[in-house]
Symmetry: none
Subunit: 209 residues, 4 copies
DNA sequence: CATGAATGAGCGTTCATTCAT
DNA sequence: CATGAATGAACGCTCATTCAT
């Protein structure tokens, strides 16, 4: 006599999660405007009113997903701050570790990352904040005498974000490279540049930078 | 002083161009799907049928704008190929010039660039092709003994595209830096990296990369 | 006494059928292109989206109606084939029965018949097939020695279809004659023709007309 | 200094006729509502305003074409009345001649016939009038002792119109049979019917078919 | 005689959202 | 907890028709 009219073991929390999962996939695939509630509910085998039982609106569920990513990113930043405090002689390794963590975050949360970092209107803000933090880290390294400051640190920070972004889209999410690989390549590139220093045991042209 | 506020007998070519201009702005601002024909024609002070007098469909005008950007990019690439043939001792300058040209293109054609490079489905393709061309250039520099190949050239090329992309969005189009400035910073960064080489007249660690 | 004037929570199947009914009437009256969804839904006291709740498109509902008629016609043909197998001395009666069945079909399904037989692009095909079947029947009668073949049987078949068509439009659907009446008249006409055989003391078959 | 701005020897009467010709073709092919002014003028190499220089509206040119057919049909009827006055012993031939004339009219004026006889709202009326005249002719033949009246003459008349209509569409306009052939077959069919008179040693009128 | 440019009115269709049950 | 049924608002597009030149 219980379960009357219920569809196979309906469970509010379950439905909600299912809807979020499917919505994440759809938003990641097609963006906000091209994702249709009707598609989401169809795939979740529930009806449209059920959707509105759990989410106030299309905007609401989208924002919830964006916030999820924001949270993960925030956590990462918190942790990285800690680790950045540890003074270490192995500069390259330390930097690579930081980047690896970022790429891993993107790899493990592809869908909400797509939404939060590429599909939302807040993504600009998030990237800006990320750049800011990187800039601060860079400044520390300069102070510590590891990095020169011949290039504008904000520009460098923005460049790093741009590279992370593009490598994630074209390599990481295509399965071409692992987080570790990408992190290592990036680190080498940003640390030492492309120039081939003639090992004539003499002075090189980095001086005039 | 004639023709003021005239609706009938106006200049067709002008109407067409006006519509394109407004459409470009709208597409750049809101993307394809969120741009409404009704908005475009309202801003152009014409009615909807007038739009269809000049464009077959919403898709058609969008593609026309995308193609405009593709054309400009193609022209740029053509020219850069020529100049890249000229062997020059001033490597840094040469690279900076190439980047300056790209940033200038983006600066002078902001709207269609937004559409073609950021808003269209072809944008991925265009970036891929751009990366490919950059990779080829890098390979030449390696052969010529200017660059090392300690990092995967394709990864570098993709990184460069990512940096151009992000700097354009966050610096160039915000009016913070000029094409020349951005090009120079980028060149320095990618050529020499961030590492501060202790000028103790000794060997540097690029060797073990 | 409940449900009076209710818009929400109404019976979906009923709405669907109501829409089909009205659509049938409209298509029959004005043809496909001049029938407007707006008219249909207005008459059904629902809004346009409701229409699309039940039918994929204007084409879809039209085709559904055409198919309904095709089905009925097919069924009729199936049955008539069976009965045509029964050899009978009463040729005239048998033929009249066949025609009666056809006219009854048209009478009982006026609207979808109008659509399928007069308003659709398939109508030509259906008439052609109908003629073909009639031609086959005629050929059998010729073989059986009932009919001569002084006239081309295909022409006769087409003529019969033409007569059915026109009598349906001008007599049956105007309520002037019953299926039986029309069938009998047609049979007499096609069997014996109009000519008056001079009663020169010999037998002539016009007598039993 | 004349002809300034004129398109190649523009001549009002010529343009008008050209438009009518093309309109006739289009109306015949696609019916009234599916024929577009824009298509007509494009094919005539004139602009839309030019169309309205010669015709008040889409309805107007359509009606003009319908009237053309009505005129031709009227003329035919006039003539046939005259010829029907001539008493002749060769009944079959006389009737065939009448039908031939009708089929010829349809053959020589296919396009306006399609419009007037099949596509217009007046077509019913025209067919009704045609049937009426045929009925009168039949009545005369009955009075003259040529035809029996075992079948309702109005029904017969309508049947004849139906046959003409359908044979025109499926045989004449498909180029399968000539007016003469169709007329002869129709005549034989309607005069003598399909029945095979058993040749019980006596005369039967099927012989001379 | 003819046109380039424009429009009012309307059509088929879609989507996020909401009742009543 | 869930649904069947419905809708307001909007969108892309088309067509016959009309000015001003």
């Amino acid at each position: 006599m219980n379960n009357r009219g219920r569809k196979k073991g309906a469970d509010g929390e379950k439905s909600r999660e299912l809807l979020m999962e499917i919505a994440a996939k759809q938003f990641a695939l097609h963006g906000f405007h091209e994702t249709k509630i009707s598609t989401i509910v169809k795939e979740a085998h529930v009806t449209q009113p059920t959707f509105y039982l759990y989410f106030k609106s299309k905007e609401a569920i989208f924002q919830e997903l964006v916030d999820m990513f924001k949270g993960k990113l925030h956590t990462l930043v918190e942790q990285s701050r800690l680790s950045s405090g540890i003074e270490s002689a192995e500069l390259q390794k330390r930097i690579a570790n930081g980047l690896t963590a970022i790429f891993r975050l993107f790899q493990d949360n592809e869908q909400i990352a797509r939404i939060g970092f590429f599909g939302s209107e807040e993504s600009f803000d998030m990237k800006k904040k990320m750049a800011k933090q990187i800039e601060e880290n860079l400044a520390t390294e300069v102070e510590n005498g590891y990095f020169h400051d011949n290039v504008d640190l904000n520009t460098v920070a923005i460049a790093i974000v741009g590279v992370i972004e593009h490598l994630t889209l074209t390599k990481l999410w295509k399965g071409i490279n692992s987080p570790e690989e990408l992190a290592e390549e990036m680190t080498k590139l940003f640390l030492y540049g492309l120039i081939l220093v003639p090992s004539t045991g003499t002075i090189q042209n980095t001086s005039e930078l």
